[in-house]
Subunit: 121 residues, 2 copies
């Protein structure tokens, strides 16, 4: 699907029965002048996520390439798809991710698994 | 810019003078039946990347969400923008990333920095 601004599409669907860790990857389109507003909104949402059982880590990436389609890419690792789902069914999280302010930032939420992980010497 | 299939846009532009580690994030659109071909092409390119000085790690993510826009997201960490640039100026890498086979997989290469990194308990 294309980048979305629909509140009900602000989280990723979660496969039933998947085992092992998962990563939510969400890439955001935003205008340069919107960065401070975006960061404040992101902070409030991520503070809730990281308080939930099964949260492992998050990395928020900011593009250095001026031509980048996505100014921010958020990668949040969860212990399991079940842990991700449980967190994202909380009323407080649903309230946070469906705030109308998010409509300013089209995004592409998806739940992924890591299929290759290599570390250099 | 939109997802690209142009050979000369298959790598990210690199900011001069940036200090600290960087991450290449590249998200790929592909049809389900193209997965095996994509993985073979990706293996050949990533094998070269990870042989280069300054390579730190890579994670290839595969979407579990059926509605995901990007079936694969590749995140490659480099020690610095200079190390990324040096690797991507090698003739062999240019040859690999401009192979016409890549035109089947629109992607969004960008060089990012990590602005938040949090690890759970």
């Amino acid at each position: 699907m294309p980048d979305t601004t629909e509140p009900q599409e602000r989280t990723a669907s979660t496969p039933i029965g998947h085992r092992g860790p998962v990563a939510l990857i969400n890439s955001f389109v935003l205008a340069e002048e919107a960065e401070a507003r975006f960061r404040a909104l992101w902070e409030a949402t991520s503070a809730f996520s990281r308080s939930q059982p099964g949260f492992r880590s998050l990395r928020l990436h900011r593009a250095l390439s001026p031509e980048a389609r996505y100014r921010y890419v958020n990668v949040v690792e969860w212990e399991s798809a079940d842990a991700y789902r449980a967190a994202h069914e909380q009323d407080e999280l649903l309230r946070l991710v469906t705030r109308r302010d998010w409509a300013e930032y089209p995004s592409t939420p998806a739940l992924d698994e890591v299929v290759e992980h290599l570390v250099g010497d």
